[in-house]
Amino acid sequence: MDKFFGFLKKFRQTAHLMVGLPDYETYVRHQKDKHPDQPVLDRSAFIAECHKRRYGGHGTPSRCC
């Protein structure tokens, strides 16, 4: 059963990363561990931040032809 849920979680992470969204839980854990003094973005602010990185500013395409 654990294996199944593990697979499901990976599937979800893959689908999210395919559209440029890294894992939110990992991000929260990272912020809490490494930067406990800094605020943690909520889910929609996190997604907005990812969108900004994926679609603008760097002048490098995020996806191919």
């Binding site: 990976k10 979800r12 992470q13 893959t14 689908a15 999210h16 990363l17 395919m18 559209v19 440029g20 969204l21 890294p22 894992d23 939110y24 990992t26 991000y27 929260v28 854990r29 990272h30 912020q31 490494k34 889910r43 929609s44 996190f46 997604i47 907005a48 931040e49 990812c50 969108h51 900004k52 990185r53 994926r54 679609y55 603008g56 500013g57 760097h58 002048g59 490098t60 395409p61 995020s62 996806r63 191919c64 032809c65």
Partner: protein, 688 residues
């Protein structure tokens, strides 16, 4: 003894692959089953991955599991995140697999399935996957630097600027050609236009939903979106049949082109959450779903290939694209064998997420092999059609006329028997008024997919649904690329103008935004519009230009790889990148030269211009022009295309010169000179 045993299983894989490849290459006269190609391809990939990519990993690059990756060292939870390799493979594959590998092989099928298959297999193993893998490695060693930045630091500032300019040009031609594929698929197709138009309100709804109703629920909103898309395909069928709504959605190519240009402008200036992001979700998931569905379909249905192994058009007289197999086959199939564009992706987000260095092999080499398989499936989908149907769909109206009777007569005279009834029946089955001259690859792929999928699910009753599903999937994907690509162009233009006028670099500035977007849209819009009005259907002359630009970028990336290998003092193994770089340079420069100077007006831009200006001087008007002004326009277009082609050649020759100089300097210095970020060894346990 163990050493030999270890290779026994692989020898068996190799043997099976060799037999399958033999059947594919040598079978004549009788149609073969698509499974032979599938088996040949899979065995080739397995062997190449097991041996060649391992050789590159261990000997050439010496991937170091003990060296800490940027994802671990710079972990910030957002950009730099150590990511499970299977998850990252999915990300990387979704980023490199686009519409390109689905279109190129369909066009290349005019020479038969064999030339395309061989180039797809040899190209990916020796060139495409090598490029993706090594660029990913180089970028990982440099904290995830982009291709442009790496060229600047390893080859000098001037080379960096030239590459940036080259990338901008490639983006513009890419957007124009992809937009042209959409126009060709949707012209005079009310069903297609309706479903594709419906994606705009659906995406807007999704954007609003995920911002205000259920923030952050990507999976949920995507499922709703896909369900609405399926619904729109069904409604589209009714719209097409309706006497009131049908004509409203029946649009000419020119109208569609202008609509796309307007759309591209608006879409790329509004906030990303509203339209672009939800569209990106839809098109990405739909693409992956379609690829998986097509693979299962082919394995399940095991279709016979109707296209001959090699057709007489191998000599360059074919109607789909002009020019002989060398060099044009290698230009036409760009993505799938080797795609320069991937060097931008492999130096984008992926290198910032690698857990360990050796995983670059699985992600870089492995994902490109998978992409090649997608291209193989597209080639199969085109080859399961009767050749007569294939040529009727892919030849421009200037050659085969506009009625089923004319088209059937012309195509049959080429030796590919087809009757007017066949053509009418198929059009009816897929719910279209006509399937003639639906160039650009997407409709052919759609018919092929409909053919395969309807055999598996739904039979003839669902043929029209599957056809429009495939059209929708291609168009949706391309529209997302146009939106995202126009933004990328805009930032590049802002960056360029910004070096002279620093104020222009501010991405928040509306004036700068509007001006740069206008330049970007005008650039690809102009090429798109002239392509729509082209006598040979546009794809015929513009797809090679796209192929040339994409392969030139691959040549540049491979030159960079070679330079760095010399700088690392691994010149002994530099042939790994030199061989594909030289081959691609030969193909692209020959193709570029022929596109410029070939005496056949169908191939050479300049002789095309000459033909029309001679006629203009004599006061004649040649089709498709209806007036002197249009004649002048065609001549201008030919010169614009010639200039673009020459620009690509100059960029690549300049890069070659820079590369050779850097290689020489690196060679005579006795110590490594590559500029990597300083190595940090992995501590006992990885943190993150």
């Amino acid at each position: 003894m163990d050493g030999i045993k270890k290779h026994f299983g692989w020898a068996l894989v190799g043997l099976i692959g060799a037999i399958a490849l033999g059947v594919v290459a040598l079978e004549r006269g009788e149609s073969i089953n698509a499974l032979w190609i599938v088996v040949a391809a899979l065995c080739t990939y397995l062997i190449a991955y097991r041996y060649y990519s391992l050789f590159i990993a261990n000997r050439v690059l010496r991937l170091d599991a003990g060296r800490i990756t940027p994802a671990v060292r710079l972990n910030d939870g957002l950009d730099y995140v150590p990511t499970n390799r299977h998850v990252l493979f999915g990300h990387h594959f979704a980023a490199i697999a686009g519409a390109g590998p689905l279109v190129g092989p369909v066009l290349a099928a005019q020479m038969g399935y064999l030339p395309g298959t061989l180039w797809l297999l040899a190209g990916v193993v020796l060139a495409g996957a090598v490029q993706d893998f090594i660029v990913l490695f180089l970028s990982t060693r440099r904290d995830g630097k982009s291709l442009g930045e790496m060229v600047r630091s390893e080859m000098g500032a001037a080379a960096g600027v030239i590459v940036q300019a080259g990338i901008l040009l490639i983006m513009i031609i890419l957007l124009a050609v992809l937009a042209l594929v959409v126009v060709k698929a949707l012209a005079h197709s009310p069903w297609g236009v309706f479903t594709v138009a419906a994606t705009i309100p659906i995406a807007l709804f999704m954007g609003l939903y995920s911002r205000y109703v259920r923030p952050g629920r990507v999976g949920e909103v995507s499922l709703i979106g896909v369900a609405l898309l399926m619904l729109s395909i069904m409604v589209g069928g009714m719209v097409a049949e309706s006497p009131t709504w049908g004509p409203i959605f029946t649009l000419k190519g020119e109208t569609l082109a202008l609509a796309l240009i307007g759309y591209g402008f608006v879409a790329s200036v509004i906030p990303v959450w509203l339209l672009l992001a939800p569209r990106d979700y839809l098109s990405t998931f739909l693409k992956i779903g379609t690829i998986v569905g097509l693979a299962i379909g082919i394995l399940f249905v095991m279709p016979e290939l109707k296209m001959p192994a090699v057709t007489k058009f191998i000599d360059g007289t074919g109607p789909v694209f002009s020019g002989s197999a060398f060099p044009f086959l290698f230009i036409t199939i760009a993505c799938g064998a080797v795609s320069g564009f991937h060097s931008l992706i492999a130096s984008g987000t992926t290198p910032k997420m690698l857990e360990t260095e050796p995983q670059a092999r699985f992600i870089g080499y492995g994902a490109m092999l998978t992409e090649s398989f997608v291209a193989i499936m597209a080639l199969i989908a085109a080859s399961v059609l009767e050749p007569g149907i294939y040529f009727a769909m892919n030849s421009p109206a200037a050659l085969i006329g506009t009625t089923p009777e004319q088209a059937a007569a012309v195509v049959s005279s080429w030796g590919f028997a087809v009757t007017p009834t066949d053509l009418e029946l198929l059009a009816k089955q897929v719910g279209e008024s006509t399937i003639l001259s639906r160039t650009g690859g997407a409709p052919t792929l759609a018919v092929g997919m409909a053919h395969i999928l309807s055999t598996a699910i739904g039979g003839e009753a669902l043929m029209a649904f599957w056809y429009h599903f495939a059209i929708l999937f291609e168009a949706l994907f391309i529209l997302t690329t146009i939106d995202a690509g126009t933004r990328v162009c805009r930032f590049m233009i802002q960056d360029f103008i910004g070096t002279a006028v620093p104020r222009f670099k501010q991405t928040q500035s509306w004036t700068a935004n509007i001006i740069a977007t206008t330049i970007a849209v005008a650039g690809w819009g102009y090429i798109l519009y002239q392509g729509v009005r082209d006598p040979l259907g546009g794809i015929n002359s513009l797809w090679p230009l796209f192929g040339i630009s994409n392969q030139m970028l691959a040549a540049i990336a491979l030159i960079l790889c070679t330079v760095v290998l010399f700088k690392m003092k691994r010149e002994r193994y530099a042939w790994v990148t030199i061989v594909p770089a030289v081959w691609i340079l030969i193909c692209t420069l020959t193709a570029g030269w022929q596109k410029l100077f070939h005496s056949d007006p169908a191939i050479g831009f300049l002789s095309h211009a000459k033909k029309f200006s001679t006629a203009l001087d004599a006061g004649q008007i040649l089709a498709p022009a209806h007036s002197m002004a249009q004649m002048q326009q065609i001549i201008t277009n030919a010169y614009v295309n010639a200039t673009l082609c020459a620009a690509f050649m100059i960029v690549v020759l300049a890069m070659l010169t820079f590369g050779l100089r850097r290689i020489y300097t690196a060679y005579v210095v006795p110590h490594p000179t590559a500029i990597e970020s300083s190595p940090v060894a992995v501590e006992g346990a990885r943190h993150g």
